[in-house]
């Protein structure tokens, strides 16, 4: 049996400040570490509803952005990118990712997705923010076995959390399957949703994306996403008590 410690997070913070790391990347990592340390502490003390988690995710991003002034000259945000290796072929994985039901399941930890038609879907952040953060995305690039890209429909009246959500599929060396990269361009509104969520610096986009990839991998490799739903504890039954 083995165990882990909060202090490693502190290590990561200093690693990310190592000279030579690119400035933007290191800032993201630093924010990620600090925020995640906070999240773990919070986790040890209490756990919110799924909706609350979503607020926290959005809040974390908004707070981070407002604190760091993380805007490029063009006024947009840098995309956040993460990769994972999955033991299936690029074709199988892009087919799976293209299925709207898959999308619903892999982003289920922070958003609800419903299919509008074959190319379009409506996304909303979970919980109370759903009313404020709801947006339409459509498939802009669809190259089976290579790339899939969803873009936010521009004239949507409600707020969007992302500008784009892109997956690329590259064969991994040996028999390890496929390297899947998820790149997301975040662009949440700074207005009402921002102020509602802004106090909750808990989790940052990197974590949100990392978990989405974990969920995609588990679904592809095992047909299910690991869960502790209904877990008994003295607090009652379920994940979010």
């Amino acid at each position: 049996m083995s165990e882990y410690s909060f202090d490693s997070a502190a290590d990561e913070v200093s690693n990310s400040m190592h000279p030579g790391a690119d400035a933007n990347g290191s800032r993201w990592r630093r924010a990620g570490s600090v925020a995640l340390g906070g999240a773990l502490v919070a986790f040890g003390l209490r756990r919110r509803s799924l909706g609350g988690t979503a607020i926290a995710l959005v809040g974390g991003f908004l707070t981070y952005r407002s604190l760091s002034g993380y805007l490029t000259d063009a006024g947009g945000t840098e995309p956040v990118e993460r990769s994972i290796t999955i033991g299936e072929s690029p074709d199988e994985l892009s087919d799976l990712a293209r299925d709207p039901e898959t999308l619903e399941r892999i982003v289920g930890h922070f958003a609800e997705v419903s299919e509008i038609d074959d190319d379009r879907s409506r996304w909303s952040a979970g919980g109370p923010l759903a009313r404020e953060l709801s947006w339409e995305m459509r498939i802009a690039v669809d190259e089976p076995g290579e790339r899939l890209r969803w873009e936010t429909v521009a004239d949507d009246s409600s707020g969007a959390l992302f500008d784009s959500w892109s997956l690329s599929f590259d064969e991994a060396p040996g028999d390890r399957g496929t390297e899947v990269t998820l790149e997301v361009r975040f662009d949440p509104p700074g207005g009402t949703a921002g102020s509602a969520a802004v106090e909750r610096l808990d989790v940052v986009p990197e974590s949100l994306i990392g978990t989405a990839l974990d969920r995609f991998k588990s679904l592809a490799e095992t047909g299910q996403i690991p869960t502790t739903e209904n877990r008994p504890s003295e607090r009652g039954r379920g994940d979010f008590l």
């Binding site: 049996m1 165990e3 882990y4 410690s5 909060f6 040890g44 490799e221 690991p226 502790t228 504890s233």
Partner: protein, 388 residues
């Protein structure tokens, strides 16, 4: 149902909690008939492990009877008697396919958190914090077992619970520790720590062909057990200098294979031990790596250091001697599924009866008291088995 729950430092309670249910079609529900307290549960008891929440159900060494299975479970059915290993493994990822079950990629729902701590996430575990999955544990009347076709081993003979229960963790863990030591026929194997894992490491070292086994501890009844049941030469480190004694026993070469079955809760003696406690108090290190340091110092040049003992985070160890003496270090949580069948075979053939380790058998409701007894090493307590 009744379960033992965690409420903070030195606070384990017997609680009424909801019964687990089938969530995924690959789940099984097991009615627990025997469940043990593990040395690594003491890290939870002493609140040294982050990611626990008040009211979490403890326990990762259970066995019992399957009472319900999900639609996709093929190898088990209600009525089967099973031992449930402490690691949760999906059976489908690259690591599971390579027999590296404790490194499963898919069984920790909180992998992102573990990745932040370690770079990558190992497998989820029963009853061992939200960092390692947040799964409810088996010190309870019932347990939900995910990926039920992958973990539990069916016991088809009528061999008693006490003889097979330790397949859930400590017997395979001690065995893997000995296997990781790469024992060869002329080897002297030194085992630090004569708790349950150490006892099984000692017995496994003989099974794997050791020439001599030396056991190091300070608790007389543990040393007695290592000598009686494990046929080991013993060193009580409170009465002898471990380095001097090991050099004496090996003609100055040092033991060829060293096993640290103690881990983070080591009680060092002298200045080193005090310095560890100070650094830990000052948050300069997470662990007390006294045994690791001593094993590096004592180990024969070119020897092997096997570490089944649990470490938490950063440990201050002499890397220079490790490198200059060309030691090999092998470690890791136990790849349980590798060992279940072969070790069950050894038990059924009478090669080993693991029940020798049991010092206390009580009802689940006595769990809170037993945690304290075990933690304080009172009443000659070596291993506690509870019956719900």
């Amino acid at each position: 149902m009744q379960a033992l729950t965690w409420h903070g430092e030195k606070d384990v309670r017997i609680s009424e909690v909801p019964r687990p249910e089938i969530v995924e079609p690959t789940d099984a529900i097991v009615e627990i008939t025997a469940t043990a307290i593990c040395g690594s549960d003491l890290h939870l008891y002493n609140d040294r492990m982050p990611g626990m929440r008040e009211g979490d159900v403890l326990g990762h060494e259970p066995m019992g009877e399957v009472i319900e299975v999900g639609d996709e479970v093929e190898s088990l059915e209600p009525g089967d008697r099973v031992v449930v290993p402490f690691t949760i493994s999906c059976g489908s990822c690259w690591f599971c396919e390579e027999d590296l079950y404790s490194l499963c990629d898919n069984s920790n729902p909180n992998a992102e958190m573990a990745r932040k701590m370690m770079g990558q996430s190992p497998a989820g575990l029963f009853g061992y914090s939200h960092l390692l999955g947040g799964y409810a544990g088996g010190q309870a009347e019932y347990l939900r077992v995910p990926y039920a076709d992958v973990g539990p081993i069916k016991i088809e003979s009528d061999i008693p619970d006490e003889q097979v229960l330790f397949l859930s963790d400590i017997f395979p863990t001690g065995y893997m520790a000995a296997e990781n030591a790469d024992i060869e026929p002329e080897d002297t194997v030194a085992v630090w720590g004569c708790g349950p894992v150490g006892q099984f490491a000692i017995q496994s070292a003989w099974m794997l062909g050791a020439n001599e086994v030396v056991a190091i501890d300070r608790v007389p009844e543990r040393l007695e057990m290592a000598s009686q049941h494990g046929d080991a030469t013993t060193i009580n480190y409170e009465h002898a200098d471990v380095y001097d004694r090991l050099m004496e026993l090996t003609g100055g070469r040092g033991p060829d294979r060293c096993i640290d079955a103690v881990g983070t809760e080591a009680h060092g003696t002298g200045l080193d031990g005090i310095s560890d406690r100070v650094k830990e108090g000052a948050k300069l290190q997470d662990d007390r790596p006294y045994v690791l340091r001593e094993a590096i110092k004592c180990c024969r040049k070119g020897g092997t250091l096997s570490v089944p003992g649990v470490y938490l985070g950063r440990a201050n160890i002499p890397f220079g001697p490790l490198m200059n003496k060309a030691l090999t270090v092998k470690t890791g949580q136990t790849h349980m599924q590798r060992y279940l069948d072969p070790l069950l075979g050894k038990i059924e053939e009478g090669e080993i009866d693991p029940s020798f380790i049991i010092s206390h058998q009580v009802g689940l409701e006595d769990g809170p008291e037993m945690y304290q007894t075990f933690n304080d090493k009172e009443d000659d307590c070596i291993k506690v088995v509870m019956t719900p």
